[in-house]
């Protein structure tokens, strides 16, 4: 087995910040413990794959798919906005973006 990586509550807080998940502070230790166990188990991938093994990102040998640029039907503004939590003047309305408070 590979060495269990150490994950601190500060690490979890940082990951949560990157992932835009506002975790309650009391949950950080719990996640730290679980992530360390899982990472310890999955770290065994480093035992087997040698440098000369190419990486595979996808199961199919894919190439880019192109199509003609033609005009075709799409969702109406009303349909596209139908699931939005907040709408104003045919647009998605969002909270303030700039840090001007």
């Amino acid at each position: 087995m590979s060495e269990t990586p150490s994950i601190t509550r500060e690490d979890v807080a940082h990951l949560a910040k990157l992932a835009r998940i506002d975790l309650p502070p009391e949950s950080l230790d719990h996640y730290a413990e679980q992530l360390a166990v899982i990472l310890g188990a999955v770290a065994q991938v480093s035992e087997v794959a040698a440098d000369d093994v190419p990486a595979t990102s996808h199961p199919l040998p894919l190439v880019n798919v192109f199509r003609e640029d033609v005009v075709r039907g799409s969702l109406t503004a009303e349909e596209a906005l139908s699931g939005a939590p907040s709408v104003e003047s045919d647009r998605f309305r969002v909270p303030r973006i700039l840090d001007e408070a």
Partner: protein, 499 residues
């Protein structure tokens, strides 16, 4: 009449509807009544679309009356996994974050089902965003296994498998990223197929891990699964990873059901230690049956399979953390904490995602974020992608020695609800035999091969074939199914306790 209609196979139902022996509306009503009678206990459905189902059934009856040619599954009811969009119908993916969302468009799978006259009864329960092996990670409560209501129905597509096993629908759609069609099929005594990656369009399938996700059929017989796959499969310009090759004749293969002279490989690494005794026993018996039917049994080795689970739990969280970034409280779903002070959009996103995502989803998003972050990318995600290459090479070598490969679908029968909920690693081990097929993009089927003697619960056998050779699954599966049926004298679900 009602109990008779719900116990029919999809093929039988379609033929009775086509001949006029029963109407599609009668069939739909029988299943809606069944849902009304048992789903409070099973909880396979998150939403039942009574009105829409009856309207679709009525349209089939009218088309028949008008002398129109009906498609092979016209009038057959189906349960749709809640990860697939259906226009105007709530689609939650088992998550609070999408509560109340009614998609403005149909997934390609949904559109093809509608065009074929399939009657969509409603949306089925699932682990949140298809992450889990027990349906316990649904934000709307777990689904219960019809064989024992205290046990899990598998996951993530536990709702679809349970609906089929409980005779609430003869057909269901599942999606399989690491086993989410096959493992629920195994633990509920039903049939489930993950087609070749790209065989069925992903357009309108809410993405978990885009390089692994694949939709496919759930049913009670191999032929029914083939009929459903032939309706939903085929190239779709709306999905750039959709394969352009012609769909193999899966229905013809299910009807052929002849394994004489076929080479069937047992994967040494998928079995033995860690597998329940009764699972191994039923698997071994099935091997003997296949041999008796004229198949040649060989043993193959896939030496890198023990690393598949580790690679999967790096690749999946990585793709998931990226895919789920779109749930930000702006374009769909819930928004949380906007009124609390004068928060910025970033703060609202954080609050929305913390309130909207469940424990397992948060865990996997953070795992993926970790695996993709600077300093760890090469050691984790990069290495996992190399393992993926090694898994594909293992399969290539194995398929040079055998036409299909077989293994138990899952290491154990259905476990108790709550048993593994606090131990993510133990939960992940349920997928140990199903994950390699996803990493390589090849097709896999699970079908029931009996009940484990120690607990009386269903055991599944998995068949795997090379990419685009899905027909081989159906040929072998149907041959084994017919032989087992002869041994048992009745379909296995007749042994399930009545609900």
């Amino acid at each position: 009449m009602t109990s008779e209609l719900i116990s029919l196979t999809a093929a039988e139902t379609a033929s009775k509807v086509a001949s006029g022996e029963v109407s599609a509306v009668e069939v739909a009503n029988a299943h809606l009544d069944r849902i009304g009678a048992v789903d409070e206990r099973v909880h396979a459905f998150l939403y039942v679309d009574r009105e829409g189902a009856l309207a679709a059934a009525d349209a089939v009856d009218k088309a028949r009356a008008a002398g129109e040619q009906l498609s092979p599954l016209a009038g057959v009811p189906l349960a749709l996994k809640d990860v697939m969009t259906q226009k105007g119908i709530p689609t939650t993916c088992g998550s609070k974050i999408l509560e109340g969302w009614r998609p403005p468009y149909d997934a390609t799978v949904t559109a093809r089902l509608k065009a074929a006259g399939v009657v969509i009864l409603g949306k089925t329960n699932m682990d949140e965003f298809a992450m889990g092996s027990s349906t316990e990670h649904s934000a709307y409560g777990p689904t219960h296994n019809p064989w024992d209501l205290d046990r899990i129905p598998g996951g993530s597509g536990g709702g679809s498998a349970a609906a089929v096993a409980a005779f609430e629908a003869p057909l269901a759609i599942g999606t399989d990223t690491g086993g989410s069609i096959r493992q629920p099929a195994a633990v509920t005594g039903t049939v489930g197929v993950k087609p070749t990656y790209g065989a069925v369009s992903r357009y309108g399938l809410v993405a978990l891990a885009s390089s692994l996700d694949q939709a496919g059929p759930c049913s009670r017989t191999v032929l029914d699964a083939a009929l459903l796959q032939s309706v939903i499969a085929g190239h779709d310009p709306m999905d750039s990873t959709s394969v352009t090759d012609p769909v193999p004749d899966v229905v013809g293969a299910a009807l052929r059901a002849d394994v004489k002279g076929l080479k069937i490989g047992i994967v040494r690494e998928l079995g033995g230690e860690g597998y329940q005794a009764g699972v191994r026993q039923r698997f071994d018996e099935a091997v003997t049956i296949l041999e008796g039917l004229g198949a040649e049994i060989v043993e193959v080795s896939c030496p890198h399979f023990p690393y598949a689970l580790a690679a999967y739990y790096l690749i999946l969280p990585s793709e998931c953390s990226s895919n789920l970034a779109k749930f930000d409280g702006v374009r769909f779903g819930i928004r949380v904490g906007e009124g609390d002070g004068d928060p910025s959009i970033e703060q609202v996103m954080g609050r929305t995602r913390a309130a909207g995502f469940g424990d397992e989803t948060i865990r996997r998003i953070m795992l993926g974020t970790y695996a993709l972050s600077a300093g760890y990318y090469d050691a984790y995600y990069g290495q996992a992608q190399k393992v993926r290459t090694l898994i594909q090479r293992d399969f290539a070598a194995a398929f040079a020695q055998a036409d299909v490969l077989i293994s138990p679908t899952a290491p154990t029968t259905a476990f108790k609800l709550g048993e593994k909920l606090d131990d993510p690693l133990a939960m992940y081990l349920n997928d140990v035999a199903t994950i390699p097929a996803n990493l390589a993009g090849i097709p896999g089927m699970s079908l029931p091969v009996g009940l484990a003697p120690e607990d009386g619960l269903p055991v599944g056998l998995q068949i795997m074939a090379p990419a685009l050779a899905d027909d081989r699954l159906y040929n072998v599966g149907a041959a084994l199914e017919a032989a087992l049926l002869q041994t048992w004298g009745h379909p296995i679900l007749q042994e399930a306790p009545s609900l």
